[in-house]
């Protein structure tokens, strides 16, 4: 379980979660494997937050999904849609710009 905190760290993580999810879904993943991939990459996410987020991104047209009923248990695989690929590129660019801006703020801290 991800620890809850009042320092703003959780809010910061939630803010970049969409970008992290889109980055991992360049190859198809099902919910649990995506959660594992994020955790292994250093971003543990609460299950209750991640799975509904996938549904929301799919409803927004950024993800597409298919059931793999050949596996046991059946799994729903998510991948980036064409809109999702464009959104991922735009978010990645915005993220790099934010890193540059925040980096400059932190360097400038008295």
């Amino acid at each position: 379980m991800v620890e809850r905190d009042n320092t703003g760290l959780g809010e910061l993580r939630r803010g970049v979660l969409v970008l992290a999810v889109l980055s991992r879904l360049q190859v198809p993943q099902y919910g649990y494997s995506l959660k594992q991939a994020l955790a292994e990459g250093g971003m543990p996410v609460e299950e209750g937050t991640l799975y509904p987020l996938l549904r929301r991104l799919e409803a927004q047209g950024l993800l597409a999904s298919d059931w793999d009923t050949g596996s046991s248990p059946p799994r729903r695989y998510y991948r980036l849609s064409a809109d999702g690929t464009r959104a991922f590129a735009a978010l990645a660019e915005a993220w790099r710009e934010q890193v540059r801006v925040i980096g400059a703020f932190l360097e400038d801290t008295p």
Binding site: Y32, E47, T49, P73
Partner: protein, 306 residues
């Protein structure tokens, strides 16, 4: 004893019942598969088969079924969080009105039941307003108010004339007032003042306060605005006159009252109570507004004293 998979099934069922029918099966199928994988991973990590306690521990992290369902399908609150403050104020305001009404009319229906009905009406109104705002988010933009001092002269003049005609003239000489308004064929003799009341101090005091209120309107007209000191005097005058009118109504009997005629007293008593009660409530409302208002507002470039 309940098995781990039964616990998971029960949880998925409860989540699904909180979702729209069209989404239930789809979400339930995926959630069930994900929870199974989570549980299997925990069992692997613990080196023992999954049991009920392990399943309950997992589901605690997911939260209540209603909370989990809300994350899948967000439903708006019946009363928007931003409206809670106004909802509470309207609810308390209604409770005060009903308490005053019940105190003045002891034989009226159960005030507790009326209050519950009031809460129901409020809930419906706030829910509809929130729904309408969500459907038309750009139509209800904020517009600046003119501030508590605002009172244009035409409105002041109208208020002054109306006030002098209605309560002042009517209270000072009810028979003459009715004579002017009613057809000559109708008798207004019943509105002659009771001699005991006509010379009493409550009548003199009420008359003096009504004249003071008229003067307050005249000052507002002269200034073209309503500064805080004048508004506060108005609140005090409203409260005092309202209380006196309630006292008029409460002490009236058919034989001993404001008028000579017993029938006029019977008709007038509830009117005095209603008008007086309304004035008290209006005064309390404006007192609350004065108490909660910011006066004076901080000047630009000036910091309020710490």
């Amino acid at each position: 004893m309940m098995q781990a998979n039964q616990v998971i099934d029960a949880y998925v069922r409860d989540v699904a019942t909180c979702l729209p029918r069209a989404r239930r099966n789809d979400v339930a199928l995926e959630l069930r598969a994900l929870l199974d994988e989570e549980l299997a991973e925990r069992a692997r990590s613990a080196g023992r088969p999954a049991d009920k306690a392990m399943a309950m521990d997992l589901l605690r992290d997911f939260g209540r079924p209603a909370d989990a369902a809300q994350r899948y399908h967000a439903r708006p609150a019946l009363v928007d969080a931003a409206d809670t403050h106004h909802f509470v104020i309207w609810a308390i305001g209604g409770a005060v009105v009903m308490a005053v009404h019940a105190a003045l009319n002891p034989g009226q229906p159960d005030p507790g039941g009326l209050f519950l009905e009031w809460l129901g009406v409020l809930l419906l109104c706030f829910a509809l307003a929130g729904w309408w705002r969500r459907r038309h988010p750009t139509r209800f933009g904020w517009t600046p108010s003119r501030g508590p001092d605002w009172m244009p002269r035409p409105l002041s003049a109208l208020s002054l004339v109306a006030f002098v005609v209605f309560p002042v003239a009517m209270y000072a000489a009810p028979m003459a007032f009715a004579r002017v308004l009613l057809p000559a064929t109708l008798s207004v003799d019943g509105l002659a003042l009771d001699p005991g009341f006509a010379g009493s101090w409550p009548r003199a005091l009420t008359m003096a306060l009504l004249v003071a209120m008229a003067v307050q309107f005249a000052i507002t007209l002269a200034l073209g605005r309503q500064p805080a000191w004048l508004r506060r005097i108005g609140v005090a005058l409203n409260l005092a006159v309202g209380t006196l009118l309630v006292a008029h109504g409460a002490m009236m009997t058919p034989q001993h009252g404001v008028f000579v005629s017993a029938q006029a007293n019977t008709v007038a008593a509830p009117i005095f109570l209603t008008v007086g009660g309304m004035m008290v409530l209006v005064a309390l409302y404006y007192a609350w507004r004065e108490w909660t208002g910011i006066d004076p507002a901080p000047m630009r470039g000036e910091m309020p004293a710490a």
